[in-house]
Amino acid sequence: MLPGFGLSMGFTLLYLAFLVLIPLGGLVLYTSTRITWGEFWSRAVTDPRVVAAYKLSFGASLIAAVLNGVLGLIIAWVLVRYEFWGKRLVDAIVDLPFALPTAVSGIALTTLYARTGWIGRLFDPLGIQIAYAYPGIVLALVLIGLPFVVRTVQPALEDLEQDMEEAASALGATRWQTFYRVILPNIMPSLLTGFSLAFARAWGEFGSIYFIAGNMPFKTEITPLLILIRLEQFDYVGATAIGVVMLVAAFFLLLLINLLQWWSRRHQAS
């Protein structure tokens, strides 16, 4: 038997108690004792500005996560299956959004996609505004979510048994049928995990969107920004009510994705 269980476990629990459990308890207690149902309802559920923010956050996160699912799968596929010059460098750079501060990627994307930016000026003559509009928000969310999908799908593709594909092809399946009927169902649980991680991250993201969104109430104001605005007005009740809705939504999303994963694993087994 190895020593040190009591010491390491005790320290871990103490640390988590101070940093996570007590603050979370404080939030729950605050919500249940200092906010009435009526207040909660009017501040976080029926306020049109807040509802507009929920819709924006949810919609943009969903679009970004779907784009991440497609692009991430293609990148993972290319990295696992093909050989090309500079592949190792490409593989390394996928992790950049994990290490790059969100404020830094935020100002970089904004400058790049603003009307006068390197890419924004290509779209401006077409009448398409990217920065300070909806597309800019989606763009920022795609950037921060991309590595989640690539890094969860990549190992699943690496572990795939090639015999199955050979069998499918020997039985007369076209390459596309093999992909659609054999490969995709096998990597589906990982793809769903990557998708849910990207979605969860996008739902709570603040830094990279803050700069590119333009932050117009009812139009490009995301939910986390509203919490910040409420706190700047010392409106703890308003901030907490919205925060609770965000936490509950995140919890249900993760639950839903876990169910989906469980279903797709079972589906695959049968």
Binding site: G4, L16, L19, D95, L112, E166, R175, L231, A250, L254
Partner: protein, 302 residues
């Protein structure tokens, strides 16, 4: 949950392209083009832009951006925050990984979920948690005010928020690594009479060295770059509670774009350095795996 950021211990799949399971040259070219274009557009171009914008007004202006009193104060505060948060979270990460990877106990999955929490909680909500606890209208606000202690809109709040958002990284790197390695070597050392501390220092630590280094570097990059949570608790007092990311925001909103990107370039450089360390660590891991496999094979032949 956050397995996606963990180091990959296995490299290169056994995939061998053959005619019946490969794609046509056209399909391959299209897919590679999409992948490279996506990465260029979303990752490489922003990185290039940061350094281009930072150096737009020449090297003199670039270095001048770091010597203003506000910039110096922001750099100092960021360094202090990292200097406190990184060691504390490293000790936590090692302790948590030791408990989780080396022992079986009830509620382990709940513990892991708790450790993953900062990955799923919005950084703004992380800040909100501590405002409710320590803010003027929060639980401890009146008591703190009575004793003239400032946490929110002051340095302690920034450090606590940073601790919260960066505590999982070391643990998350070490847990899979230590689980994969198993505890045979440690048990052998104990049987041979080593003390618990000697076992950890001489056996465990050398084995997890590279994963630990990457975990620390990643924690450091995230601690220095945290924006959302720190934004909530800082109060944006120039020269006092602005960290480097907050200073970048102030400069950017003041239309001092070059200076803003100059400060941003320091953090971007740190991010690139983190990726370089990750690549080295993965390469070292792959090499030691290959060596272990070779030795096992030789052992079989003898």
């Amino acid at each position: 949950m956050a397995g996606s950021i963990a180091l990959r211990t296995k490299r290169a799949s056994a995939y061998r392209p053959i005619a019946s399971t490969g794609e046509s040259l056209l399909t391959r070219t299209i897919l590679i083009t999409i992948a490279l274009a996506t990465l260029a557009l979303f990752l490489v171009l922003p990185l290039v832009l940061i350094f281009t914008e930072a150096l737009k007004q020449g090297l003199g202006a670039y270095f001048a951006a770091f010597t203003t009193p506000d910039a110096r104060s922001a750099i100092r505060l960021t360094l202090i925050t990292a200097l406190i948060a990184v060691p504390l979270n490293t000790v936590f990460g090692v302790a948590a990984a030791w408990a989780i990877a080396r022992f079986e106990f009830k509620g382990k999955s709940i513990l892991i979920t708790l450790i993953d929490l900062p990955f799923t909680v919005s950084p703004v909500i992380a800040g909100l948690l501590f405002v409710i606890l320590f803010g003027t209208r929060g639980w401890l606000g009146p008591w703190l005010q009575e004793h003239d202690i400032r946490i929110i809109f002051a340095v302690p709040g920034i450090i606590i928020a940073t601790l919260f958002v960066t505590f999982p990284f070391v643990a998350r790197e070490l847990i899979p690594l230590m689980q994969a390695q198993g505890s045979e070597e440690e048990l052998a050392a104990l049987t041979l009479g080593a003390s618990g501390f000697q076992t950890f220092w001489r056996v465990t630590l050398p084995n997890i060295k590279w994963g630990l280094i990457y975990g620390i570097i990643l924690t450091n990059a995230r601690a220095m770059g945290e924006f959302g949570a720190v934004s909530v608790v800082s109060g944006h007092i120039r020269g006092q509670t602005n960290t480097m990311p907050l200073h970048i925001e102030v400069l950017y909103n003041d239309y001092q774009t070059s200076a803003s990107f100059a400060v941003a370039s320091l953090l971007a450089f740190l991010a690139v350095l983190t990726l370089v360390v990750k690549s080295i660590v993965e390469w070292k891991n792959a090499r030691s795996h290959a060596q272990a496999a070779r030795e096992a094979e030789q052992g079989d032949h003898q």
